[in-house]
Amino acid sequence: MVSFLLLAMVTVAIAEVTLAALLVLFSYVLRLDLTIDLGSARLFFESDPRAGPVVELYGPASVASILFCAVCGFSAAIRTFRLWRPTG
């Protein structure tokens, strides 16, 4: 059970890193200045210092994102586990 939970947490962590990478990619494509607040640390990506809009994601956004990923994953898993029937 502990291994399953650890694996689930690692999956959410990988998903969050992927999401951050996607946001940086989108910031490059849309020429945005992106700041992500992670508690004491701050990630800053500057694509165009002259004209780009400044997008700032605060601490609660990171927490909400982690919770949303975990809730979506667990709800899908629980639904599948309960409704699973052997085929054939």
Binding site: V12, L22, P60
Partner: protein, 154 residues
Amino acid sequence: MKALLRLYPRSWRKRYGGEMDALVDDLPGGVGVALDLLVGAAAAYASVVRDNRVLSTAAAYLHGVCVAVLVQAIAFVTLVLVSQQSQSPTIVQIGAWQIASVVRPGPFPLRELSAYVRAQALLESLPAVILLVLLVAILALALAGPRLVRRSIQ
């Protein structure tokens, strides 16, 4: 071409490996056949996953997390798109918690700009619109994917 048969699950190869070897020997080697074998391997794995309760649950968990990431990416692009339509800062807030803000540089409000500049602003939002459409299409595909795979197996 026979090397592609190694991509199939072991249980499947034990059951159908011999027949498949003979079938691949008779078929002309080409890109179409290779693609068919690859799609067949994916469908065979999907069938193996579907027949196992724990694997099905794990796959559903991964699918749910992927959908969540896509939804958040769509929310981000939508926020940028909405902010591009107004010159005042866009702030997303839930109660006392500030989630996100977008501040757009520019000294004039949109309604005071000339038609040319307004058209230019619309043109500026085109990449965001294209990105949004692309992400929504990927999300639709991700949501319909399991059903399509189930149908292809049956």
